[in-house]
C-alpha cells in the first residue's frame, strides 16, 4: 500500500508540489498576510470617543492627524536620526574589527574571533539592554565608575543611551557581512595600492571602502531597519524619549486605528529603503 502510494506521488509532480506548498502557504497567507491586511484596513477606521469601540467607516482622519501634528513629525525625525546614528556608529566600530579579523588575525584566531562576535547574538535581547541600564545609571553606574578617572561621565538615560544600546544590540550584524566582504577582497589589491604609493588611509578610502560598500549596505539593512521599529530599548534606557515604536505601543490599547496608522510609517520607510538599496545594485553583488 505504502509503496503504491509512494509511486503514485512520484508520478504526479504537480500533486507533490501542491502537497508541499498548501499548508505553509496557507499559514503565511492566513495567519500573517491576513493579519497585516486587517491592520492596514484598520488604519483607515476611527474609534468612538465615548465607548472606545472601533467604528468601521473608511476615512483618512488618522492620516490627517498624523501629518498635521508636529509632535509626530518630531518622533519620525528623531527615530530616523537614531537609526542613522546607530548605523553610523556600528559601521565605525565594525570596519576596523572586521579588517583585523579578515586580514591580520591568523586562521586559528580568526575562527575564535568570529565566535566571539557571534556569541552575544544569542544572549537575550532584554538582558543586553538591562546590562546597559546598569552601565549607564547616572551616578552609580559602571560607566561612571570606570570612566570618572579620565573625566568622562555617563550620558544617563535618553537619546545617546538609546543609540549606544541599539548599536550594542546590532553590532554583530554589521561586523559579519563586512568581515565576509573583506575576506573576499584579494590581498594583492591592497599591496598594489601600497606599491603605487598610497598611504593606508588613502588605500582605505579609494580601494577598500568602495569594494566593501555592498557589505556595509547589507549590514545597514539590519542596523537601520531593526532600530526603526524598536520600542523596548527606548522604554528601558531612553528616559522620557519616545521612538515611533513607543507611540504605536501606547496607542495600541487606547486607539488601535491610530496605532495602525503610525505603524505604517516605519514599514513605509523600510520599504523605501529596501527599494533604494535594490536600485543601487548593492545586494546583487553580495
Amino acid at each position: 500500500m505504502l509503496n503504491s502510494l509512494s509511486n503514485y506521488f512520484h508520478k504526479k509532480q504537480r500533486l507533490r508540489l501542491v502537497a508541499l506548498l498548501t499548508t505553509p502557504v496557507l499559514w503565511l497567507v492566513v495567519a500573517y498576510l491576513g493579519a497585516l491586511a486587517m491592520l492596514l484596513v484598520t488604519a483607515f477606521f476611527t474609534i468612538d470617543n465615548f465607548t472606545g469601540n472601533v467604528i468601521q467607516e473608511f476615512n483618512l482622519g488618522n492620516f490627517q492627524d498624523m501629518l498635521t501634528d508636529a509632535a509626530y513629525k518630531n518622533v519620525v525625525l528623531r527615530t530616523l536620526g537614531i537609526a542613522i546614528s546607530v548605523t553610523f556608529l556600528c559601521s565605525v566600530l565594525a570596519i576596523p574589527m572586521a579588517f583585523y579579523m579578515a586580514k591580520i588575525a591568523r586562521p586559528h584566531s580568526q575562527k575564535i574571533l568570529v565566535a566571539l562576535v557571534l556569541t552575544p547574538l544569542w544572549a537575550s535581547y532584554l538582558v543586553k539592554i538591562y546590562a546597559w541600564r546598569t552601565m549607564l545609571e547616572p551616578g552609580s553606574g559602571v560607566l561612571d565608575w570606570l570612566l570618572a578617572p579620565i573625566g568622562i561621565h555617563s550620558p544617563g538615560f535618553g537619546g545617546p543611551a538609546i543609540i549606544i544600546g541599539l548599536s550594542y544590540l546590532w553590532l554583530p550584524y554589521m561586523i559579519l557581512p563586512i568581515y565576509a566582504g573583506l575576506e573576499r577582497l584579494p590581498n594583492n589589491l591592497l599591496d598594489a595600492s601600497g606599491d603605487l604609493g598610497a598611504h593606508n588611509f588613502y588605500t582605505f578610502r579609494k580601494v577598500i571602502l568602495p569594494l566593501i560598500f555592498p557589505s556595509l549596505v547589507a549590514g545597514s539593512m539590519f542596523t537601520f531597519s531593526l532600530s526603526l521599529g524598536d520600542y523596548i530599548t527606548a522604554q528601558i534606557i531612553g528616559g522620557k524619549l519616545q521612538m515611533l515604536g513607543n507611540v504605536v505601543y501606547q496607542n495600541f490599547s487606547i486607539n488601535l486605528p491610530f496605532a495602525a496608522t503610525i505603524a505604517m510609517i516605519p514599514v513605509s520607510i523600510m520599504a523605501l529603503y529596501l527599494y533604494l538599496v535594490r536600485r543601487t545594485g548593492a545586494l546583487a553583488s553580495m
Binding site: 508541499l20 499559514w27 576596523p96 568570529v114 546590562a131 545609571e137 547589507a218 526603526l228 521599529g229 523596548i232
Partner: protein
C-alpha cells in the same frame, strides 16, 4: 600582505576596544548576580551566592521557563515542518509565484516586531474572537521561525543537488525510502541547526509575545521585563540575566561544530 606595524597595532587595539564594548556589559551582568547588595550598587562591596539559590526556588522564574521552553519547542516543531516543505518546493520545483514565496517567508522577521505584534493581536482577538494564550503565542512564534528553518534547509538542498536521490531511485528505492535513507540524513544537520536557531529566536522573543500572550502566560523574557523595574526583584533578575548570558555559549558551540553556512542567525 604588508601592513605596517603601527597600522597593525592600531587595528589590533581598535579590535580590543570593540570586544571590550561587547563583553564588559555582559561581564557586569554576571558579576552583578553575585552582588550582595539588595539594591544596585557598583562596585559590589560583598559577594554572595544567596541570590542564585533564591532564583532557583523562585516559582515565577520556574513557571516562565516552563512556558518559554514549551512555546519554543512547539513553534520550532511547526517551523521545521513548514519551513522544510517550503524549501523543498522552492528548490526542487518550478512554479508560478516562486519568488513571491521567498519574499513572503522573510516578511515576518523583516517587519518591526511591534507591527507584527499588533497585527496578530488584532486578528486573533478582534477578527477571530480568540482569547490570547499559549496557542496564539505559538502561532506568532512559528510564523517568524519558518524563515530560519527555510533558509537553512534551502541552502543545504541547493548544495546537495538531486543526483543522490536519482541514484537511489534508479537503484529501485521508492520515494519514501529515498527520503528516509538519502535525503533526510543529508539534510539532518541543517535542520538541527535551523531548529536550534528557531528555538533560540523564540526563546528570546519579547515584542510579538507581549501582544499575543495575554495576562495568563509569562515567558521568561516577559517575566524579566515585568520584574525589571521592581526594586526588590532586582537580585533575582540579575541571576536570570547572568544565566542567559552563560547559556548563550552553548548554541554557538553547537552551531560552530555543526555547519558552516548557518552560524549567522539564519538571517543572511
Amino acid at each position: 600582505m604588508t601592513i605596517s606595524r603601527n597600522a597593525r597595532l592600531l587595528l589590533g587595539s581598535l579590535l580590543g576596544v570593540g570586544l571590550a564594548f561587547i563583553y564588559v556589559p555582559l561581564a557586569v551582568v554576571i558579576i552583578n548576580s553575585f552582588n550582595a547588595s539588595k539594591t544596585f550598587s557598583w562596585p559590589p562591596s560583598h559577594f554572595t551566592t544567596m541570590w542564585w539559590s533564591k532564583a532557583i526556588e523562585n516559582t515565577g522564574v520556574r513557571e516562565a521557563l516552563k512556558w518559554s521552553i514549551f512555546a519554543g519547542l512547539s513553534a520550532t516543531a511547526i517551523a521545521l515542518v513548514l519551513g522544510t516543505c517550503l524549501a523543498f518546493a522552492v528548490s526542487r520545483y518550478q512554479f508560478f509565484g516562486r519568488e513571491v514565496i521567498s519574499l513572503l517567508v522573510v516578511l515576518p522577521i523583516s517587519l518591526p516586531g511591534v507591527v507584527t505584534g499588533i497585527a496578530l493581536n488584532n486578528a486573533f482577538t478582534k477578527q477571530l474572537g480568540m482569547s490570547t494564550g499559549l496557542l496564539t503565542v505559538v502561532i506568532g512564534h512559528a510564523t517568524f521561525c519558518i524563515v530560519i528553518v527555510y533558509n537553512n534547509a534551502i541552502a543545504r538542498l541547493r548544495r546537495m543537488g538531486t543526483s543522490l536521490q536519482e541514484a537511489s531511485m534508479d537503484l529501485g528505492a521508492n520515494g519514501i525510502t529515498t527520503f528516509r535513507l538519502i535525503t533526510l540524513p543529508n539534510l539532518a544537520s541543517a535542520l538541527f541547526a535551523g531548529g536550534l536557531l528557531a528555538f533560540g529566536l523564540s526563546f528570546d522573543e519579547i515584542v510579538v509575545t507581549t501582544f499575543t500572550a495575554g495576562p495568563g502566560i509569562q515567558t521568561l523574557p516577559i517575566w524579566i521585563y515585568n520584574n525589571l523595574f521592581r526594586p526588590n526583584q532586582a537580585p533575582i533578575v540579575n541571576v536570570v540575566a547572568a544565566t542567559l548570558v552563560v547559556l548563550s555559549i552553548i548554541p554557538i558551540y553547537l552551531s560552530q561544530r555543526l555547519s558552516q553556512d548557518t552560524t549567522t542567525g539564519g538571517r543572511f
